[in-house]
Every structure is written in structure tokens, then in C-alpha cells.
């Protein structure tokens, strides 16, 4: 029970993930992003060793198809996993094992995979793909967020007793560096996708400030002063 959009941005070469699920602390499992290498995610019944292994294989030069074949050969429970792999060229491979529960499946597009399990149905992954493709002019992270919001709006997850809330969610983007360019999480919440959007919009206000503070600490204004200036600006805008 999870829905995910994994992608490589064709404009910037960044790789990223937007994910939401009934499970808690899902960001803990999103260990499959590396700049200039690729993106991968194993979900459903997660094999936590898959992501680090797949990244190493991508770094070695294996194609996504071949990485997927290796993950299969290496895992006696492969048919329980749902996996997507994207390389730095935007080539994609994905599989939804036959032992995923509920409605489970994926759609592959140009440099991205929309996938999920224990979902309301195929419209959920279709809606994610459509939302991701809808506005290529907006930032990569906003496209990822739009995708999971669309997945939620299309019915999201459905368990034995009906709809399941998103209790955790995350959005992450990696670019040229070893560290994430964006890494935001909601670990335990009744409406994790809404909370992730709130967190993102709040963080966006600080992002340039944080970047500049690292680069040029001498001239950085104290954060409290920044927060006060922000509040004044928001007040004036109202």
C-alpha cells in the first residue's frame, strides 16, 4: 500500500521521488537516489538491501533492465516486491511482482515510473503519470508533489475495509552533489500528503536563505530576523 512517482528530470538531470503510503516513516526507505547515477525504489514488501545494491549496479554501468534482472536473481522473495529503476540517461525498468497485494501495477513514461500497490485501481497510477506530465515547465519537485496529490485524489489506497489514509509521505531530489537538494518528509500524520505540501511550501520560503547562509556565513542575517522579515512580508501581502 504505497503510491510513488520516481523520475529523472530531462531538463536538469536531477533524480527524484514523490511517495505516499499508509505505512509510517516511509522516507526511511527512500535510499535509492544518487545524482549522476540514477534512481531506484523497492516497495510493497520492501527488500531494504535492493536500493543500495541497485545504485551500485547503476554506477557500474548496468542498464536498468539488467539491474532489475540482478535484483530478481538475488532475492528469493522477488515476487513480493514492486521495483522501479531509472538510470542517468532516463532509461527505465519496472516490475510489479505477482504477490503484491490488492490492485498493484505501474506505468512507465519518458524518464519516469508511476507505481503503487493496494490501490483503488489503475486510475491512481494513471492520474500520477498524467499530473507529472501535465506541467513540464514547473520545477521538478513541484511535478513530483503534483503527482502524488493526483494519486491521492484518484482514490489512493484501498485496504480490506476501504480507503486507507496516507500516514507518511516524502519528496526528495538529488542533483550534482552527494547530498540531497531537497529532502522533506512527513513520518506520521493523518493527512500526510497535505502535510507534505504544507512543509514544502514553508521550506521553499527558507531554501534560498539556507543556501546562502552556508555559502556566505559572514553576511548571513540571524534566522530569527529572517523569520520576522518573512512574517512582515506575508502580513503585507495579505
Amino acid at each position: 500500500m504505497t503510491f510513488t512517482l520516481l523520475a529523472r528530470c530531462p531538463k536538469t538531470g536531477q533524480v527524484g521521488i514523490g511517495i505516499a503510503t499508509y505505512s509510517i516513516t516511509v522516507g526511511l526507505y527512500c535510499t535509492g537516489l544518487r545524482g549522476n547515477t540514477g534512481a531506484t525504489m523497492t516497495q510493497a514488501f520492501v527488500n531494504q538491501g535492493n536500493n543500495p545494491l541497485a545504485l551500485r549496479l547503476l554506477a557500474q554501468g548496468y542498464t536498468p533492465d539488467h539491474v532489475l534482472a540482478e535484483l530478481k536473481a538475488n532475492d528469493s522473495n522477488h515476487e513480493f516486491r514492486q521495483i522501479a529503476v531509472i538510470d542517468r540517461l532516463g532509461r527505465v525498468a519496472a516490475c510489479t511482482g505477482p504477490k503484491n497485494r490488492g490492485w498493484a501495477g505501474h506505468v512507465i513514461g519518458d524518464g519516469y515510473v508511476a507505481m503503487g500497490n493496494v490501490l483503488a485501481g489503475k486510475p491512481v497510477v494513471d492520474a500520477m503519470a498524467e499530473a507529472y506530465e501535465a506541467a513540464p515547465e514547473i520545477s521538478f519537485e513541484r511535478r513530483l508533489l503534483a503527482a502524488i496529490e493526483a494519486g491521492r485524489d484518484a482514490g489512493g489506497q484501498v485496504g480490506n475495509d476501504g480507503h486507507l489514509a496516507e500516514r507518511s509521505a516524502a519528496v526528495m531530489v538529488y542533483g550534482d552533489y552527494d547530498h540531497a537538494e531537497l529532502d522533506l518528509r512527513v513520518d506520521l500524520h493523518d493527512k500526510a500528503v497535505e502535510e507534505l505540501r504544507r512543509t514544502f511550501e514553508e521550506y521553499e520560503l527558507y531554501r534560498g536563505y539556507y543556501r546562502e547562509r552556508s555559502r556566505n556565513p559572514k553576511e548571513a542575517m540571524p534566522q530569527y530576523a529572517f523569520v520576522q522579515a518573512l512574517a512582515r512580508k506575508q502580513e503585507a501581502a495579505r
Binding site: M1, Y22, S23, I24, T25, G27, L28, Y29, T31, F45, V46, N47, Q48, G49, N51, P52, L53, N77, F80, K99, R101, G159, N160, D161, L164, Y177, D178, H179, A180, L182, D183, L184, R185, V186, D187, L188, R198, T199, E202, Y203, Y206, Y210, R213, S214, N216, P217, K218, A220, P222, Q223, Y224
Partner: protein, 239 residues
């Protein structure tokens, strides 16, 4: 303004950190925890490339003291950074640059380093150390969590007339594998340390279930069934 603790469990070799701050989404800037290698944490005015570099240097076999020298040589603004490094053997190095604002400092104790800037005073570091040392037999995540709670209870961030709340917090623990054992975040919240404790306690209830789904999926019960059992147990315990 931030306070954090890096630590190691001598019994198990697990490594980790816990952090709380006025800044948002601090857990997104904690890459420097690597299983069987060590911990490197840069804060104050962080240089984001320090932690991945520090981990690579530790993995090469450099001791923390020498890694710190290299980080200093690699960064023209090293004087604005606060850095703590610990390797898998428990060797440590720590640096609080003179450019860190407010009260800033670090303190070492057995298997841990507490560090912070923009703090009420040295009592915050003492609170963290006391929290970490209080129950040495507990799992590392609980020792780290207790350390951050100790720092908060000793006054946390800001001078006495301008306390700054914790708006984000995170805890991360690695064992022997490539992925974290525990990795929990609170990114935007009014009392992030309280919320982090709540999420940690909840996570511990699910930890075995999630692990079983990975290693033996054919026997895993559906999660909504698991949650119902959990709720029933909670109601029984409250009664």
C-alpha cells in the same frame, strides 16, 4: 542555532545521531551516518559537502582528528562551521568555529559528543551528555533521544530572554547494513522534540512487523490488520 549528539553503542557497534533545531527540515541535512564507518555532522553555518566527504575520508581509514584537518583545509569558511566526527572505534574530533553565533560549544563523554550553537549555555551540553549516559544498556536510539530531551530540558536554544523553539528534529541510527535501522524525522512542528519522541515510540511498535515483511513476506499479515491489533492492544492496556 542547533543542538545535536553523535554517538556509538559500544556493545553493538551501532552508530547514530540525534538533532533538534530552530531551522526547518534538519533531518534532510544529516547524510553523515555510515554503518561500520562513522558519523560526521556539520552544523551552525553548514557546509553541505563536509559530511559526505568526512565519511569518505573515515572509510579510507583516516582518524577523526586528521579528517578534521582535511575538512579545515578544504573550506575557506571553516571558522563558521561546527563539526563533530566519530569513527567506528569511538575516536572523536570536534570543532566549534569562532564564527558560530550565540553560546556555542561541544563536549565529549563516553561514546558520544554533544554540540550546539545559539544555546542558552553550557548546561545544554551537560543535559545532553547526562541524557545519553543515563541508561547505557538501552538501544542507541533511546540514548540519543534522551540526550536531545536532556538538552531541551536544560534550556535548548536562545539566550534567556529569547528562547527559540525546536521546529525540526531527527534521529538516525545505522547498524551493519547499507540502509538505516532507525531514521525518523519531524520537519516543521512547534515542539519538534516532543513530536520526534511520539514518532519514535510509534515506529518501535512497527519495527518488527516491517522487518518481517521484508525478510518473510509470505507470512506477513496485511498492515491494516496489524494496525487493528495494535489499536486493540492499546485499548486493553489503557483499561
Amino acid at each position: 542555532m542547533t543542538y545535536s549528539v553523535i554517538g556509538r553503542c559500544k556493545r553493538t557497534g551501532r552508530l547514530g545521531l540525534c538533532i533538534a533545531t530552530y531551522s526547518l527540515a534538519v533531518g534532510g541535512r544529516c547524510e553523515g551516518v555510515a554503518a561500520n564507518v562513522g558519523v560526521c555532522k556539520t552544523q551552525a553555518f553548514p557546509n553541505r559537502t563536509n559530511d559526505p566527504l568526512g565519511i569518505k575520508l573515515l572509510a579510507q581509514g583516516y582518524r577523526p582528528a586528521h579528517v578534521m584537518e582535511i575538512l579545515a583545509g578544504n573550506d575557506s569558511e571553516h571558522g563558521f562551521r561546527q563539526v563533530a566526527i566519530m569513527d567506528r572505534d569511538g575516536w572523536v574530533a570536534a570543532h566549534t568555529g569562532p564564527g558560530c553565533r550565540g553560546w556555542a560549544g561541544h563536549k565529549e563523554a563516553a561514546d558520544c559528543v554533544a554540540l550546539g550553537n545559539g544555546l542558552l549555555g553550557p548546561q545544554v551540553l551537560d543535559g545532553m551528555i547526562a541524557g545519553f549516559l543515563a541508561h547505557p544498556d538501552d538501544a542507541l536510539e533511546y540514548r540519543l533521544m534522551r540526550a536531545i530531551e536532556g538538552g531541551r530540558d536544560a534550556g535548548g536554544q536562545g539566550p534567556v530572554d529569547a528562547h527559540r523553539t525546536e521546529r525540526s528534529a531527527a534521529i538516525k541510527v545505522v547498524d551493519r547494513r547499507d540502509f538505516p535501522d532507525v531514521d525518523i524525522r519531524v520537519d516543521v512542528h512547534e515542539t519538534a522534540v516532543v513530536e520526534l519522541r511520539r514518532v519514535l515510540e510509534e515506529f518501535k511498535l512497527y519495527e518488527e512487523f516491517y522487518r518481517g515483511r521484508d525478510t518473510d513476506p509470505s507470512k506477513a499479515i496485511p498492515q491494516d490488520v496489524f494496525v487493528k491489533k495494535l489499536d486493540a492492544r492499546r485499548i486493553k492496556e489503557q483499561a
